[in-house]
C-alpha cells in the first residue's frame, strides 16, 4: 500500500512541468515519421509541434482529451499549392484518434484515427493501427484509407459489408465552400492500404524510426511540389528534459524533414508551490484593531468592504483582487482576522464580493482554522470543517474609483495573406463603482506598433457583416474606445444573479444587455438567460454607430460533468439574426488552466456561412500565475477559430455572470483547499 502511495506522490511531486513529445510524428500526433502509432500521450498533456519537409510545414497543437482520446488542430502551409505555384495554401485541419485498446495486456494497443475530418480535405484520411512494444522496440502496423491508401491498395475492406462502402466519394470535390463539413460519408470507404514501421528507443532520449508509407502525396506530386521516390521514411529524434524534442527525417528519399515539439502538462505548473511570500504567521494572541485588519488585508491584495461583529460571530465582506484560488484567499483573510479580532470572536464568516455584489460565504471556527495549520492534509481537513453558503443579501458598498494603465497585445490569425498579425499598444482601464453593484467602466486603447492595420481583406459574407468586417475596425488604427458601459449587478434572490449593461458593450457592438443566472453554491448545474439589443459600431471605434441592429440572446445551461470536464449549451439567436445553439466542452485542471472546444450550428446554410461551413474552435485559458508562480487573477484567454465568419457569432461581453460567479461557486469553491494554508 505504501509503495503505491509513494509512487503516486513521486509522479506528482517530482514530475516535470513538461510532457513527453518524443514519440510524435510530423503530424504532431503519436506516430513515426508520417504514419500514426496506436499510442496515446499522457492524459491531459498538450503538445505543440512544428514539422515538415520541402515546402510543407505543419504546425499542430495536440491535446490528450481523455486517457484514450487525442485531438489536434493543425495549421499547415504548402508552398505553391494554388494557382500553378503562385500561391501558398494555408490549410486548417482537425484530427481525432481514439485508442480502442491500451497495451496493458498481452495484446497490442489499437487505435482508430481520423485525420483532417473537417477541413479542406488535403490530409483527409482514416486509419486503424496497432502498436506493440517489445523491450526498447515498438512495432506498428495498420490499415489506411483516403490519402493513406494511395500506394498498393488492398481493395476496399468495408466493401464486403456493403457496395456503398466500396468506393470513396471525393471529399475534396466541393471546393472551399464545402470545407468544414464533416466528411463522414467518406470515412473508411474505398480502398485501404497497409502501413507500418518500427521504432527503437536505445535510451530515454533517443528514438530511431523507420516506416513504410502508402501516402504518395498525390495532391502535391500532381503540382510538382513533392517527389516521392521511396515508400520508406527514416528518422531520429532526441528529447531534452525541458519538454523539447527535435527530430530529423529522410522523407521519401528526397527530402530532409525536421520536427520541433514542445510538451507541457496543465496539471504541473513550473512552480506548484507558488512564488508568493510566506503568509503572515498566526499570532498566539490577537493584536491591533480595525485599522490593522484593513492594512493586513490590503497587504494580501484583499479589499475590506465591511465588517460586522455580533457577539462571537464576525462577518467580513471582502473583495479578492489577487488570489486565483479562492481557498487561498480564504486562508489569507482568516489569518488577518485571527491576528486582529478580539478573542471573544469565535466564528468567522467571509463573504466574497464582486463589484459590490455579495457572492458566496465561507464560515469556520477561528480555533479550528488555527489548529489545522500544520496538520497533514490541513487544507483538506479545513474544507471538511467549513460551511459554504449563498450570501445573497445586498449591502451598501462605498463608492470607489480604480484605474490601470498597461500594455496590451492583440492578435489576428489565419489570414491567408499573413497568417499571424499582431498589434501592441497601451490600454487604459478605468472603473467607477457608484454603489452596491452599480458601476461605470471603460477601456481605451492606443495601438503603438503592429500590423493589424495592414489587412486589406474585404468580407464576401452573404450574411450581415457582424464579425467579418473586423479588418475594417483594425484599419482605423487610432485611439479606440474599446468599451464603455454602465453595469448593474444585483442579487434578485437566493442563488440568483442579475446583470444589466448599457453602452459600448464590445469592440463592434453597443446597446443593452440583460442577464439572469441561477447558480447554487455547490451545485454542478447553472442556468442562465440573456437578452441583448445590439447595434453595430462605427469602424473608427469612436462613439458612432452603423445602421445594423439586432435583438440577440440565449438560454444557457452550464454543467460540471465531474473529473474536471465542464459542458455548456447556449441556444438562441445570434448576431446575424441566425438561430441555433453552441455546445462547448472544457477540461479544467483544478488550477484555472483549461482547454476546450466549441461548435455552433445555426439555421444559416453552409453555403451562406462560407468557408468553414459552421463556427467552431478551440479555446485555452491559462492563469498568469500558472506561468509565473506569482499570484494574480489575470488570465490569458485565447480562442482559436479556423475561420471567423458571421454565422453563430455572439456578443463579446466582458462580464457574463457565469464567468464572474465561477471563481466562488461550484468546483472553484469546493476544491483547491490544499492551498488554504499557503
Amino acid at each position: 500500500m505504501r509503495r503505491r502511495l509513494i509512487g503516486t506522490a513521486a509522479a506528482l511531486i517530482l514530475g516535470a512541468t513538461t510532457a513527453e513529445t518524443q514519440g510524435l510524428s510530423l503530424y504532431g500526433l503519436p506516430g513515426l515519421v508520417d504514419m500514426p502509432t496506436a499510442r496515446a500521450m499522457e492524459d491531459g498533456s498538450l503538445a505543440l509541434t512544428a514539422g515538415g519537409f520541402g515546402g510543407t510545414l505543419r504546425n499542430t497543437l495536440a491535446f490528450q482529451v481523455t486517457p484514450r482520446l487525442t485531438g489536434s488542430f493543425r495549421y499547415a502551409r504548402i508552398r505553391g499549392y494554388d494557382f500553378d505555384g503562385a500561391q501558398d495554401r494555408f490549410d486548417r485541419s482537425f484530427d481525432l484518434q481514439f485508442q480502442l485498446a491500451s497495451e496493458r495486456g498481452p495484446g497490442p494497443a489499437v487505435a482508430l484515427g481520423l485525420r483532417d475530418f473537417g477541413g479542406t480535405g488535403i490530409y483527409s484520411s482514416e486509419y486503424l493501427v496497432a502498436t506493440k512494444t517489445f523491450g526498447s522496440f515498438e512495432l506498428t502496423a495498420g490499415l489506411g484509407w483516403g490519402r493513406l491508401a494511395e500506394r498498393d491498395p488492398l481493395g476496399a475492406p468495408l466493401g464486403l459489408l456493403s457496395d456503398r462502402l466500396a468506393t470513396r466519394p471525393d471529399a475534396r470535390a466541393g471546393g472551399i465552400e464545402q470545407t468544414g463539413r464533416l466528411d463522414a460519408g467518406s470515412w473508411f470507404r474505398g480502398n485501404a492500404s497497409a502501413f507500418g514501421g518500427l521504432a527503437w528507443e536505445p535510451s530515454e532520449r533517443w528514438r530511431i524510426v523507420a516506416e513504410y508509407s502508402p501516402d504518395l502525396y498525390r495532391l502535391e506530386t500532381d503540382r510538382g511540389l513533392v517527389d516521392v521516390r521511396s515508400p520508406v521514411n527514416l528518422g531520429a529524434s532526441y528529447r531534452w528534459d525541458n519538454g523539447i524534442a527535435l527530430g530529423a527525417y529522410a522523407v521519401q528519399s528526397t527530402d530532409l524533414g525536421l520536427r520541433l515539439s514542445y510538451g507541457l502538462h496543465p496539471a504541473r505548473p513550473p512552480r506548484p508551490g507558488g512564488a508568493e511570500p510566506a503568509p503572515p504567521p498566526l499570532l498566539p494572541s490577537p493584536a491591533g484593531g480595525p485599522a490593522t485588519l484593513m492594512q493586513g488585508l490590503e497587504a494580501q491584495g484583499i479589499g475590506l468592504e465591511a465588517i460586522e461583529i455580533d457577539g462571537a460571530l464576525a462577518e467580513v465582506r471582502i473583495e479578492n483582487r489577487r488570489w486565483p484560488v479562492t481557498a487561498q484567499a480564504v486562508g489569507r483573510t482568516a489569518r488577518a482576522l485571527g491576528n486582529t479580532l478580539p478573542e471573544g470572536v469565535e466564528r468567522l464568516r467571509i463573504v466574497f464580493t464582486e463589484s459590490g455584489m455579495p457572492m458566496s460565504a465561507v464560515s469556520m471556527d477561528r480555533q479550528a482554522f488555527a489548529e489545522m495549520e500544520f496538520s497533514p492534509e490541513g487544507g483538506a481537513r479545513l474544507r471538511e470543517h467549513v460551511a459554504l453558503d449563498d450570501a445573497w443579501r445586498e449591502f451598501d458598498a462605498e463608492p470607489r474609483f480604480t484605474y490601470g494603465l498597461g500594455p496590451y497585445a492583440a492578435l489576428s490569425t489565419f489570414d491567408p495573406d499573413a497568417p499571424l498579425r499582431a498589434d501592441v499598444g497601451l490600454q487604459l482601464d478605468a472603473a467607477h463603482r457608484l454603489g452596491s453593484g452599480l458601476s461605470v467602466a471603460g477601456r481605451l486603447r492606443q495601438p503603438l506598433a503592429g500590423s493589424l492595420d495592414e489587412s486589406d481583406r474585404v468580407s464576401d459574407s452573404r450574411l450581415p457583416h457582424v464579425r467579418s468586417d473586423s479588418a475594417r475596425y483594425d484599419r482605423s488604427a487610432g485611439l479606440e474606445l474599446t468599451r464603455l458601459t454602465a453595469d448593474y449587478l444585483y442579487r434578485p434572490g437566493p442563488d440568483l444573479f442579475g446583470r444589466v449593461s448599457a453602452g459600448y458593450l464590445e469592440r463592434m457592438f453597443g446597446g443593452l444587455s440583460a442577464e439572469l443566472l441561477w447558480y447554487p453554491v455547490e451545485g454542478p448545474l447553472a442556468l442562465g438567460a440573456e437578452v441583448n439589443y445590439a447595434r453595430q459600431r462605427g469602424f473608427d471605434l469612436g462613439t458612432g454607430f452603423r445602421d445594423y441592429d439586432v435583438w440577440t440572446g440565449h438560454a444557457s445551461a452550464y454543467y460540471d460533468l465531474g473529473l474536471g470536464y465542464r459542458a455548456q449549451l447556449d441556444a438562441g439567436r445570434y448576431l446575424a439574426g441566425d438561430w441555433g445553439a453552441t455546445l462547448s466542452l472544457d477540461r479544467d485542471f483544478g488550477n484555472g488552466f483549461s482547454v476546450g472546444a466549441f461548435l455552433t450550428l445555426t439555421d444559416v446554410a453552409p453555403e451562406d456561412f462560407g468557408e468553414g461551413s459552421f463556427d467552431k474552435g478551440i479555446r485555452l485559458e491559462i492563469p498568469v500565475s500558472w506561468i509565473t508562480g506569482v499570484p494574480t487573477r489575470s488570465r490569458i484567454r485565447q480562442t482559436i477559430r479556423p475561420v471567423l465568419r458571421d454565422g453563430g457569432a455572439r456578443l463579446n461581453l466582458g462580464n457574463r455572470l457565469y464567468e464572474i460567479t465561477r471563481p466562488v461557486r461550484g468546483r472553484a469553491l469546493t476544491e483547491g483547499w490544499g492551498r488554504a494554508y499557503r
Binding site: I13, P277, A278, P284, P376, A380, A449
Partner: protein, 192 residues
C-alpha cells in the same frame, strides 16, 4: 507598420508594485534569529522569528521565504521551490535523544499544481555519529552528531548536531526535490 513610442510601452511593462515583503522582514530586526543556508547554492541568510505558537516557531527570511520549526525540526516551508505544507516525524524527537538512535517514519506533504497536498513517505534510520563541535556566536559548543537516513523515492540524509541538553544547535534538513536541503544554525547558545 506603426512604430510609435515602443520605449514607452516597455517602460509600462516594467511597472510593478513595491514588495511589502522586505518591509516585513526589516520590521523583525532584533527578533531572535537563526542562520539558514541553502546547501545547493551555498547561500546563507538570517531568518528572523515572526511568531511562536504552540511551541512552533515561524521564521521569515529575505524574499519572503518562511520556515516553521518545532524544537529545531523543520515542519513546514513557504516560498521555497517546494511548498512543504506539513511534516510528520513519528519517533524522531525521541530517536535523536537516544544514544542508540532508532527507526522512524518521515512523512512530507507538498502542495501540488492542482492545489492538493500530496504525501511523500520515507522510512528512516537514526544513528549516532559521535561527538563534534559547533561554532555558535564566535565560540564553540560541544555537540554530538546524529544522522537520519531515509529511503523512498528519494534517498535523503539529514544531519543534526545536538547540544548537551538535547537542543538542535545545527542541522541539515531535506525540504523537497526542488529545494534540496537547508542548513540551520542557532545564532546564540541556548539559554539554560
Amino acid at each position: 507598420m506603426r512604430w510609435v513610442l515602443t520605449g514607452l510601452l516597455l517602460a509600462a511593462c516594467g511597472v510593478s508594485e513595491p514588495p511589502a515583503t522586505e518591509e516585513r522582514y526589516a520590521a523583525l530586526a532584533g527578533a531572535p534569529a537563526i542562520q539558514v543556508g541553502a546547501v545547493r547554492t551555498g547561500g546563507f541568510a538570517l531568518f528572523r522569528q515572526e511568531a511562536m505558537r504552540d511551541g512552533r516557531q515561524s521564521y521569515l527570511g529575505p524574499g519572503g521565504v518562511g520556515l516553521v520549526l518545532d524544537r529545531g525540526l523543520i515542519i513546514a516551508s513557504r516560498g521555497t521551490p517546494d511548498a512543504l505544507m506539513a511534516v510528520e516525524v513519528e519517533g524522531l524527537h525521541a530517536a535523536l535523544r537516544q544514544t542508540t538512535g532508532g527507526e522512524t517514519l518521515r512523512r512530507h506533504w507538498y502542495l501540488t499544481g492542482t492545489n492538493e497536498n500530496e504525501e511523500l513517505a520515507l522510512t528512516c534510520a537514526v544513528r549516532p555519529m559521535g561527538p563534534r563541535e559547533v561554532r555558535i556566536g564566535g565560540g564553540t559548543v560541544p555537540a554530538h552528531l546524529m544522522v537520519e537516513r531515509c529511503d523512498g523515492v528519494n534517498v535523503i540524509e539529514n544531519l543534526y548536531w545536538l547540544g548537551r541538553d538535547g537542543d538542535i544547535l545545527q542541522s541539515r534538513q531535506w525540504i523537497g526535490p526542488r529545494t534540496g536541503a537547508l542548513s540551520t544554525r542557532l545564532t546564540r547558545r541556548p539559554a539554560r
